[in-house]
Structure formats: structure tokens, C-alpha cells
């Protein structure tokens, strides 16, 4: 079976339970079991090749640009792990089917479990370290889901997040390590990397890469000081603990250390980091395990200890130690999974895992007792079980290991660890199963059905068989796996058997067993001492750390993003000014090329008005209406300035825009406070003033410098001047630019206006749809109101003016192409002419007379402009290509026409519609029931004569 398929099957398997959620518990369990079984079978098909020392490969270029390839290979090490993962996986699937209760969502569980399984298989089969990373992180994620599976348990949620935090951060460190490794070698393919030991170890980046990768391994394999997450992960359902936290996931770190052993091991750095960490972990885990009353916690710390053991062995860096490591991996997986499942059975049956509440179960649960007995003795290192064999090898290796010049440190500490290990193993047997039967179990325990004990029973069979027939049964496996670890077939001599003669290791084993028994005897006082001794509680530290981190993050986030746009804007200004200055001083400024032009008195006076008025706006900005009057002065001067400086179109636009803007601001101000009471502290004002002055000076200096220099190259506008008439058919170059050369800009511009109106309309609807409407309807004017809302003179004057204004608008529109003017200005004039009606005769009266909806006017404007542009397509010319020519109808003279005028009509309509829709929307805010009148003017003596229909005069 292709490696792709083996790696993919669990993922496919993950899909089915998710889909089969409704089909029932058996369906999802079967689907999970079947796919796992298929994958397992597929794996087994490779036995001949693997045991021949071949490497099975499957390659696919996934992301060649990065060197991330979906390359898989299967060698002894991979085979060993894949077998463990899939084999134990099958047992777990079976076990879980009976372990989980009816309320637990079974489909979800199997989905997560198979996701995890797939990720693990991916890790051990990957021939590409980036691919391996992908699977590595996936195991973190899927284990997060599995640990948090019981969502209602706070320990589950917290344990899941803790596991994710620790293994996740390790994984991220490992990403960096792997990238460095790949960088050193020039490839991310493992098969290439494994050939480059010398290159890697000679690289100056070796140490950082090593540390970063080991961080990943240590966190995953719960090595000190990252071991604390593992016990908290025990909040997961027991199948998960058995699978992830004993047999597979925690071994991923070991796997990776083994995988990279050929290229990373053998240096003092490796030895001191890995072996020491392993040693400490082994010791610490063993000691703590003895004092845990929770069965699963005991097992968890024992797992920590055994993982430390294996890590230490790998850290020794000798081939024979590596063999021992591989062997212990197998052994530990068998007895520890069995123990976890047994603990689960106890928990499941007795409804407690607390050792203090248990005891005497051997009579009630004989099957379970047998399983636990064998597995625990194996864990304690009692012959003839498999645990004894590998522990013996370990002890043997420690004897040969020199740490910092000391012969005794490593074996001494290892012995202590072994001693504790024996003690807690015994404790599991003695305190749970031996002793008198109790009457106060939370539930009456008895052996479960075979569905739950078959799995562990199978495993302890292995425990026994491997112990007895190690060379036959485990030998070949160990050989190929260790061969893969050590990177060759030249393994040193070793033998897997129970009796090696009277070696130091044997003495140490005996000492450990006896000492262990003694420790158990002394357990009560020791426990008391342990609990009295001050020791850091990892969870508390972690919780504090996470809590602190979250608080800090909240503090930073809220502190920075506190909603004070005044500060945001200040920072922005400061940054812009700073960076711009930085850019400026990094360049050189050549001398000015243009003369300064003379100034007459009138521009000087205009300038004076502008500066004074602007200053006054700043000084008086708290008096809002006054500021608007002053802005009016500024607007006037700016318009006049444009006119004076040869920009009549601009002047016209500015003037008319000014009027509309002012009306708009006044309409809004009506509802707002008329003063700005909040006065910033003086230092804030000084600070703002300083940044404002600097910004102003910067803008001044920049434009001054620009104005006094000529273009290095001719401006493109020379072309516009030259072609405006020839190509655009107009003499007002600005207008031709607007409707022709850059008509596309104008198209965008009218759309901006149209959108503005739509936004305003939508906003009005939104506001008036809320309780604000009630407020507005009952709102009392905040200033005393005068009578005569619609003065007669205003009404009459605007009536007379409206046709005239429209005429002027038409005039401005039609001449725009050749003289100052155009659709935009004309549109504004027309809009203002209508606006006058609104101002004079009131909102209700005027809008009743409005026959075309402004939405439609805007839409038609945009559509006409667009259609004019599209018209060019019929000539196979690009969008907005204009055409012009002459019409001649005698006796009239010839008429000049240009499609640009049609485009300008679109502009005109869009402007009219947009301005009026915006103002009308705003005016709707002020509408109150008493306001409607059928008369345009409040006072009209002519009505005296007419029959009185409705005296609605206000």
C-alpha cells in the first residue's frame, strides 16, 4: 500500500465518524476502526521490505518553491512508530467504544482521534522536515481538541489550553530550528539532511538549530521543565490519555530526537542538553508519581519519568544507548497503555481514580487486577517482563556514562529514579488492588465486559511475550529501528535477554526493587513530608503566567487602542512629519531655478484676510457658528485666489461648493451643541499647537521649494494644452482634461458624490428608524425661534431667481468645454437653485413639488456618464473615448457638438441628485408634525381675498 494512502487513511477515517454522527455509536466506531485497520494492514504489507533494510518511499512535489514536499519514507524507525500508532490505535478505538458514555458525542471523538492518528502517522512517515512540521502542529491541535473533549470540565478546558500553549510554543521554536537545519543543508528532505552530519555539526548555526528543535521535542515529550502540562492533560477521557499521553504523542519528541539522532547527536552540546534533561525528568517524574493519589496522575508522572529515561538514553549519543532507547519505547508503550486503560477501567467501574478511596479490588476485578499486576511489574522492572529488559539496558548504559567528570552522578540518580519507579508501580498494585475490600466505593466495581479489557489484555500478553522471547519477538524490530536511528546497519553487539550475568545493572535493579518496596512501606510518612515540603506548583505558575499575559495583553491593547482618535491623529501627524523629515534630510536639494514673483497689494490683503480668518477660526473654534462665518471668509479668499491665479474653473467650483457646504454644516449644527465646551489642558493645547505649527511649516516649506523649481522634465500637461482643441474639441483645457483626457477620474468623482448621497440617505433611514426619531419629533429648539418661517420676500425672490439660475446653469454647462464652467459647476448651481426653494418655502412644500426622485437623478447621471463612455465601444474605441463634430441645419449656423458634453450631462445630473439627496436627507431630521403647510409663504395678503379653506398660518 502506498505510503500516501497509509498517511491519508486516518484522515479519511476522520471524515466518516463526523458524517456518521447520527448513524450511531457503533457506526462511527466501526468506521474509525476499519480505516485504522486498513492502514495497519497496509503498513504490515511493507514488513518484508522494511526488515530487509529497504527504505520505502513515496514522493510528491507539493510546494516546490519552498522545498516543502509531500515526501514519505518508511524505514525501521518509522515502521516501529507507525505500528505502535496504528496498532495501539486499534485497541484504543475498541476500548473507547465501550468506555465513553451515551451522552458523549462519539462521532466527534473518533473524528478527533483519527485526526490525531493521521497526524502522528504523518510525523513518523515524513521524509521532509517541513511536512513533518505540518503534522507536528496538527498533533498539537488535535490533542487540544481531545483534551478538551469534555467541554463541561474546567480542568479539561484549562488542560487543553495548557497543552496547546506548551506544545504549541515548542512547535513554533521547532519551525525555526527546522528552517535553520534546512538552510544549513540546502534541503528540507530528511533523506538529504540525514546524509549531512558533518555539514550540520560544523555549522555555526548548529547550536541554535539544536536548541530550537529540542525545544519542540522536549515540550512535546514533556521533558523538564515543560513536563507540567502532561498531568493536566489527564483531564481527557482515558482512551485519550492512554493513546496520546503514553503511547504516541508524547513519543513524538522522542521520535524526532531519534530521527535526527544521526546528524544531531554525538556532540557535547547534545549530550549535556539531552541527557541531562532526560535524567532530571526521569528522576523528577518518578519522585512526583509516587505521591500522586490520582491514578491517572500517577501514571502521567510515571510517563514523564519514562520519557525522561528514553530521552536520556538518546542523549548519551552512543549507539548502544540508542538501541536501549528504541527497545524501551516499545516496552513502555505496551505496559503503559495497558496501565492507562486499566486505570480507566477502575475509574469507569468504581467512579473514582483516587487511590485513597480504593483498595481490595483484586477480588472484585480479577481480570483487571491481572492486567495491572503484569503491567506494573513490568514498569517496576521485575523480570521476566519486558520492562525489566530495557531498564536493565538503561542502567547498564548509565554505568558507562561520565557526566562532567563524575562516574557516579548519572548511575546514582538513575538508580534513585528506578527506585521510585518501582515504588509507585508497587503502589498501584498494593494500594488499589490489595488490602481489604472496602465498603465505600462510589460505585460497586466489577470487571467490565471484554470490549474494555481485551485491549489491555492483548498488551500485557505482549509484555510477557517480549519479556520471555525478546530476541525472537522484539529483536528484529529493535534491530531495524535502531539501525534507522543510528543511521546504518553497523550496530554494536547487544543481546536482548533476561539473564546477562551478574552485572552492575543487575545489582542496581535488585537495589531498585528492594528500595522501591521499602519506599512503599514508608509511603505514609513520606507522603506527609512531601506534602509539607514547599514546592512550586507548575499549574499555579502557568496559570499566573497566562493570566498575567492575558492581562498584559488587555492592558496594552486597551491602552493603545483606547478609542481616543485625538491621540491616534497626534501619533499619525508626528509619524508623518518625522518620516518625511527623515526622507528629506537623506536627499539633496539643488538651488532654486525660478524667480519669486512680485506681489501687488490686493493679493497681500487677501492673504492677510485669509491668515487672520484662519487664526480666528482656531481661536474661536468653540463658538461654532462664528467659526462657520470665519470659514466663509477663508472660502471666499481661496476662491478669489484661484480666480486671480488663472484658475477660474476652480474659483467657480469652490464658490458654489462653499455655499452647499455651509448649508450642510448649518443644518447639522442645528441639532448639535452650539459651543464646544471641552477645553483641553494647556499642555495638550501647547503640544497640539507645536505639532500643528511644525506640520504647517513643513507644508509651507515643501510647496515653497517646489514652486521655485522647474520640472526636470516637461509636464505631460504640455500635451494637454497642445491637444485640447485638436483632439478634445474644447478650448477650456481644464474642462477637456476633466471630461476627456482624465474623464475616468471624473467618472470616479461623480460616483464618489453619488455614493456620498446614498450613504447619507441610508444613514438617515438608519437613524430615523431608531428611538432617535421620537427624540427628534419632540425636540424643542435650543434657541428662541423667531416667527415667519417662510418670509414672503425670500419666497418671491427665489421664485424669480430659479429660472434665471437654471439659465445660468445651462449657460455654464454649455460653455464649459470652451470657457470656464462645465457640468459640475452647473450642477451645483442648479442644485442651489432648488435648495433655495427648500430654504424659502420649507421642506414639505418643496419636496412635494419634486417630481423626480433624487435617487433616480443620481442613477441616471452615473448611467449617462457610463453609457457615454461605453458608446465608444461601438467604434471599437476604449471606454470614454470622445468624439466631436458639427451639425448644420439651415438657416441656423453650424452647431458644435461633443460626446464629452453628454458625459458632462451625466456629471451634471449626478451632482444635482447627490447634493439634493444629501440635503433633503439632512432636512428630514428636522421635520416635525406641526411643520407641514400647504402654503409656500407664511404671510400672503393675497389670500385675504381667497376663500379661507384652512387657516394653517403659523
Amino acid at each position: 500500500m502506498s505510503l500516501f494512502l497509509i498517511a491519508a487513511l486516518p484522515f479519511l477515517g476522520a471524515v466518516f465518524p463526523a458524517l456518521l454522527i447520527r448513524a450511531g455509536r457503533n457506526a462511527s466506531a466501526s468506521a474509525a476502526g476499519l480505516t485504522t485497520f486498513l492502514a495497519f494492514t497496509g503498513l504490515m504489507l511493507h514488513i518484508p521490505a522494511v526488515f530487509n533494510g529497504e527504505v520505502v518511499q513515496a514522493r510528491f512535489d507539493w510546494l516546490p518553491g519552498l522545498g516543502l514536499n509531500a515526501n514519505f519514507f518508511l524505514d525501521g524507525l518509522g515502521f516501529l512508530f507507525a505500528t505502535l500508532i496504528l496498532g495501539i490505535g486499534l485497541l484504543i478505538i475498541l476500548y473507547a467504544r465501550f468506555y465513553l458514555s451515551r451522552e458523549d458525542p462519539m462521532g466527534q471523538f473518533y473524528t478527533y482521534l483519527l485526526l490525531f492518528q493521521g497526524a502522528m502517522v504523518g510525523i513518523v512517515l515524513s521524509d521532509n522536515i517541513l511536512l513533518l512540521l505540518v503534522f507536528w502542529e496538527l498533533t498539537s491541535l488535535s490533542s487540544f481538541l481531545l483534551i478538551g473533549y469534555w467541554k463541561h470540565l474546567p480542568e479539561g478546558r484549562q488542560g487543553a489550553r495548557m497543552a496547546l500553549a506548551v506544545t504549541g510554543s515548542g512547535g513554533l521554536a521547532m519551525i525555526a530550528g527546522m528552517l535553520i537545519l534546512g538552510h544549513i543543508v540546502g534541503s528540507y528532505d530528511l533523506s538529504v539532511i540525514l546524509q549531512n552530519k558533518d555539514l550540520i555539526q560544523a555549522s555555526p548555526l548548529y547550536l541554535p538549530a539544536l536548541i530550537l528543535i529540542l525545544l519542540g521535542c522536549f515540550t512535546k515529550s514533556a521533558q523538564f521543565p515543560f513536563h507540567f502540562w502532561l498531568p493536566h492533560a489527564m483531564a481527557a477521557p482515558t482512551p485519550v490519555s492512554a493513546y496520546l499521553h503514553s503511547a504516541t504523542m508524547v513519543k513524538a519528541g522522542l521520535f524526532l530526537m531519534a530521527r535526527l539522532w544521526p546528524v544531531l547527536a554525538g556532540t557535547p552540546e547534545w549530550f549535556y542538553i539531552v541527557a541531562t534533561t532526560g535524567l532530571i525528568t526521569m528522576l523528577l517524574g518518578a519522585v512526583i508519581a509516587l505521591f500522586k493519589d490520582d491514578l491517572k496522575a500517577l501514571l502521567a508522572f510515571s510517563t514523564v519519568s519514562h520519557l525522561g529515561l528514553i530521552t536520556m538514553l538518546l542523549g548519551f549519543g552512543t549507539k548502544i544507548a540508542a538501541v536501549a532507547a528504541v527497545f524501551h519505547i516499545i516496552n513502555h508503550a505496551t505496559f503503559k497503555a495497558a496501565l492507562f486503560m486499566s486505570a480507566g477501567i477502575v475509574d469507569h467501574e468504581a467512579h473514582t481514580r483516587d487511590i485513597k478511596r480504593l483498595g481490595g479490588l483484586r477480588h472484585l476485578m480479577p481480570v483487571t487486577f491481572t492486567i495491572v499486576l503484569v503491567a506494573s511489574l513490568s514498569m517496576a522492572g521485575i523480570p521476566p517482563f519486558n520492562g525489566f529488559l530495557s531498564k536493565e539496558m538503561m542502567l547498564e548504559e548509565t554505568v558507562h556514562t561520565l557526566w562532567g567528570g563524575s562516574h557516579y552522578l548519572v548511575p546514582g540518580l538513575a538508580l534513585i529514579a528506578a527506585l521510585f519507579s518501582a515504588a509507585y508501580s508497587f503502589r498501584f498494585i498494593v494500594h488499589v488492588f490489595l488490602g481489604p475490600k472496602r465498603s465505600d466505593y462510589p460505585a460497586q466495581p466489577h470487571d467490565p465486559g471484554p470490549g474494555m479489557w481485551l485491549g489491555p489484555a492483548f498488551l500485557i500478553t505482549l509484555v510477557i511475550l517480549i519479556g520471555l522471547f525478546s530476541a525472537k519477538l522484539a529483536g528484529p524490530m529493535v534491530a531495524v529501528a535502531a539501525g534507522a536511528v543510528t543511521g546504518g546497519n553497523d550496530l554494536p553487539y547487544y543481546s536482548l535477554k533476561l539473564w546477562h550475568g551478574l552485572t552492575p545493572a543487575l545489582y542496581m535493579s535488585i537495589a531498585a526493587v528492594l528500595g522501591g518496596a521499602l519506599l512503599l512501606k514508608l509511603h505514609r510518612p513520606l507522603q506527609a513530608a512531601w506534602e509539607a515540603a514547599p514546592r512550586p506548583e507548575a499549574k499555579a505558575i502557568f496559570d499566573r503566567l497566562m493570566h498575567g499575559l492575558t492581562k498584559l495583553a488587555q492592558l496594552i491593547t486597551d491602552g493603545l487602542h483606547n478609542g481616543a482618535i485625538t491621540r491616534y491623529a497626534f501619533v499619525m501627524m508626528l509619524f508623518i512629519i518625522g518620516i518625511s523629515y527623515y526622507a528629506y534630510q537623506g536627499g539633496t536639494l539643488a538651488a532654486a531655478t525660478r524667480e519669486v514673483q512680485n506681489v501687488g497689494p490686493i493679493p497681500l490683503i487677501a492673504w492677510f484676510c485669509l491668515v487672520i480668518a484662519t487664526g480666528a477660526v482656531v481661536a474661536k473654534h468653540r463658538q461654532r457658528q462664528l467659526s462657520l462665518v470665519l470659514i466663509g471668509v477663508v472660502g471666499l479668499v481661496v476662491s478669489m485666489g484661484f480666480n486671480y491665479l488663472s484658475a477660474p474653473d476652480l474659483a467657480l467650483t469652490q464658490l458654489s461648493v462653499e455655499v452647499v457646504t455651509m448649508v450642510l454644516l448649518l443644518l447639522a449644527l442645528n441639532f448639535m451643541p452650539k459651543e464646544s465646551p471641552i477645553k483641553a489642558p494647556n499642555w495638550v493645547r501647547a503640544r497640539d499647537g507645536a505639532i500643528a505649527v511644525i506640520g504647517g511649516l513643513g507644508a509651507s516649506a515643501l510647496i515653497y521649494a517646489l514652486m521655485l523649481r522647474d520640472f526636470a522634465m516637461p509636464s505631460i500637461s504640455e500635451y494637454h494644452l497642445a491637444n485640447s482643441y485638436k483632439g478634445g474639441g474644447g478650448t477650456n483645457v481644464v474642462n477637456v482634461i476633466l471630461v476627456d483626457f482624465r474623464g475616468y477620474d471624473t467618472f470616479g468623482e461623480i460616483i464618489v458624490l453619488g455614493i456620498a448621497a446614498l450613504v447619507i440617505f441610508a444613514l438617515t433611514e438608519a437613524v430615523l428608524g431608531t428611538r432617535v426619531r421620537a427624540y427628534l419629533l419632540n425636540r424643542k429648539p435650543d434657541m428662541p425661534q423667531a416667527g415667519d418661517a417662510h418670509p414672503m420676500m425670500m419666497v418671491v425672490a427665489t421664485r424669480v431667481m430659479m429660472p434665471l439660475a437654471l439659465m445660468v446653469a445651462a449657460y455654464i454647462f454649455f460653455r464649459g468645454h470652451n470657457l470656464p464652467g462645465g457640468g459640475f459647476i452647473a450642477g451645483l448651481i442648479a442644485a442651489i437653485a432648488l435648495l433655495m426653494q427648500y430654504m424659502a418655502s420649507g421642506f414639505t412644500w418643496a419636496s412635494e413639488r419634486q417630481r423626480v426622485f433624487y435617487h433616480g437623478i443620481i442613477g441616471s447621471g452615473v448611467l449617462i456618464a457610463a453609457a457615454t463612455g461605453l458608446g465608444a465601444w461601438f467604434n471599437d474605441m476604449p471606454f470614454l473615448t470622445s468624439d466631436y463634430g458639427y451639425l448644420y441645419w439651415p438657416p441656423l449656423e453650424k452647431f458644435e457638438w461633443a460626446t464629452a458634453a453628454l458625459f458632462d450631462l451625466g456629471v451634471f445630473l449626478a451632482v444635482v441628485g447627490a447634493v439634493l439627496l444629501a440635503l433633503e436627507s439632512l432636512a428630514r431630521f428636522a421635520w416635525q408634525p406641526g411643520m407641514s403647510t400647504e402654503h409656500a409663504m407664511d404671510i400672503n395678503p393675497a389670500r385675504d381675498d381667497a376663500p379661507q379653506q384652512n387657516s394653517d398660518e403659523v
Binding site: D788, M792, R799, L806, V808, E893, A942
Partner: protein
């Protein structure tokens, strides 16, 4: 005639607008006239809803005379007022309010009167009475408010009455 009314519902306005176009375009060509005329037809149609009860002038030909009189008054009054502003101390000036009872009824006529008063220096129309039967006028410097009122009524209101009512 009815056809004429239908095609050109606002002959005076149309004429005025055509003239406006010609003035604006500063071109006395046929094209310009035709175009102005077309606009003069279209625009009143567009603005008609906003001027529903349009006053019909009785004697529009008298407008010209009225305008000339007003222009002349403006020039003369300007000189007087300039003297007041430049040379007359505030203390000796006698600002006065004057109530002008109105005989005019149509809004257009009243507006024309009020406008005339404002545009002739020295007097400003400040308000109408609540039902529009009197006009409040402010005089910059008037020893005899009665005289001012009478002059307004005689010189302007009477003429406007002829034109409009």
C-alpha cells in the same frame, strides 16, 4: 391663442429667459436666439411647480418707467447717505422706524416694493406685519418719518399697484 398658451405658457418668462441667454452668451446670433428660446421654453416648464400662483401683471409696460425712477432715486439717495455716513456724527443722526401700511396684496408686488425700499439707500425694509398689511421700514436718518412713509406710498407703491393689481 390657446395653442400659443399651450406651447408657451409663460410668454413673459420665456422672453425674459431668452434675453437672459443672449445676455449671458453675449452673442446676438440666430443660433444663440434659438437656443435661448428653447431653454426659455423648457426651464419654465421645470420650475412651474415652484411658482404655482404666478401673478399676472396688469401693465407690464410700466415696469421700465418704474425702474428708471428707482435708479435715479438710488443715485440721489446714495449721495445723501454717503454724506451722512462720512460726515454726520452719530449723535446728530436720527435713525427712525417707520410703519408703511400696505395697499398692495400680491406677494410679487409687496416684494418689489420692499426691495425697492431696501435698494434705495437710507431705508431698509425690515419686516412685514403678521398678516402682511404693513411694512416695517428703518430709516438711517429721518427727521420726519411721516414724510418718508408718504413718499414710499406715493412714489413706489402707487406705481407698483398700477403694474400688478
Amino acid at each position: 391663442m390657446r395653442l400659443f398658451r399651450r406651447v408657451i405658457p409663460h410668454p413673459i418668462l420665456t422672453l425674459l429667459l431668452t434675453l437672459t441667454w443672449v445676455l449671458l452668451a453675449s452673442s446676438w446670433t440666430l443660433n444663440s436666439l434659438v437656443f435661448g428660446f428653447l431653454l426659455g421654453l423648457v426651464i419654465p416648464f421645470l420650475t412651474q411647480p415652484y411658482w404655482p400662483e404666478q401673478a399676472r401683471m396688469k401693465k407690464p409696460h410700466k415696469i421700465a418707467a418704474y425702474i428708471l425712477i428707482v435708479l435715479w432715486d438710488i443715485v440721489m439717495a446714495n449721495i445723501t447717505v454717503a454724506r451722512i455716513v462720512l460726515f454726520k456724527p452719530n449723535s446728530r443722526r436720527q435713525p427712525r422706524w417707520v410703519t408703511v401700511p400696505l395697499d398692495l396684496k400680491t406677494p410679487e408686488a409687496i416684494t418689489a416694493l420692499a426691495g425697492t425700499i431696501t435698494m434705495t439707500p437710507g431705508t431698509v425694509s425690515a419686516d412685514l406685519s403678521a398678516e402682511g398689511h404693513a411694512l416695517l421700514v428703518h430709516c438711517l436718518d429721518a427727521e420726519d418719518p411721516e414724510a418718508v412713509r408718504d413718499e414710499i406710498k406715493q412714489r413706489y407703491e402707487r406705481r407698483l399697484m398700477e403694474i400688478f393689481e
